[in-house]
Subunit: 198 residues, 2 copies
Amino acid sequence: MSQAPREIETLIDLMARLPGLGPRSARRAVLYLIRKRGLLLRPLAEAMQAVADSARECVVCGNVTTGEVCEICSSEKRANGTLCVVEDVADLWAMERAGVFSGRYHVLGGTLSALDGVGPEELRLPKLVQRVADEGITEVILALNATIDGQTTAHYIADELEGRCSVTSLAQGVPIGGELDYLDEGTITAALKARKAL
Amino acid sequence: MSQAPREIETLIDLMARLPGLGPRSARRAVLYLIRKRGLLLRPLAEAMQAVADSARECVVCGNVTTGEVCEICSSEKRANGTLCVVEDVADLWAMERAGVFSGRYHVLGGTLSALDGVGPEELRLPKLVQRVADEGITEVILALNATIDGQTTAHYIADELEGRCSVTSLAQGVPIGGELDYLDEGTITAALKARKAL
């Protein structure tokens, strides 16, 4: 026999499909949820339903939003002529947590990848070129991951936008709090090449 | 400003309260859920609602069930005169995964703990004594965690049941400080087979 009633097994199976949870941690989480039924399980069910009903992609930048256009794209204050290009919404949130960028975003939805058959049409790339023209963008800041696919995509975008606006990318170097002994050779090389006068 | 619309921030905050997930993994999980809206987010919301509506404690043993009495307590086959006492439902599931015990269970709902002020009345202990008499139990198998509180509770139960039925406990095969839910089935099987009179 199964260990738990059908409804509970169904919930465990679904929870186990979340990133970061396996079958065992899903079981623990479900037992915890059942104990905290009123405080956590019901509110969670309702919050999920609300997000399922309301969450959608911003038609302008690809951010997650509940309206047609996201808060950042709707805010006139953020229209400063710079556009920050990120791979996905998690990266946009990471940039916003840093709180240092005051322009708007463009979420690609991934990176170019010959191996996975992802070409420019699969990403929000044509829309980027169009936005640069329509919104009078003067600088596009590429905040792509420092992976091979991320850097390939960065170079592709730089080529596409050549002559239309300036294209910059996040500096590469030693992370704050980082110790040289734990850094890879690539990072040290990049940091040395980009050294600045103190 | 917050990084995401209110509905999504609410969901992230609730998800971050699950055991095994922190704020960062909760954000990742929520973005994943939004991408898999039809396949995972909606079914999960519905499964949680179903469990919130149906899950309850078995009135006999304390197992999680959707009826009045759990499957194990309803099954005549499991009435073999032995009762396995566990601390919580996760431990009951761990025993069932081992698949070696064919009797019924009694879920204490914790262990005695002077430090936390948990006395016999806070646990399902009076009910255990009553069941031993009512159900003609000949052997009570203590499958409590090999922690100090677990073993204190085991000795308390052995004293309570002295002269009423034989009381055995899982063999020392359970590693000291270990918790049942984290053990492999082989160890649980070996420990059950090597149970000794207290």
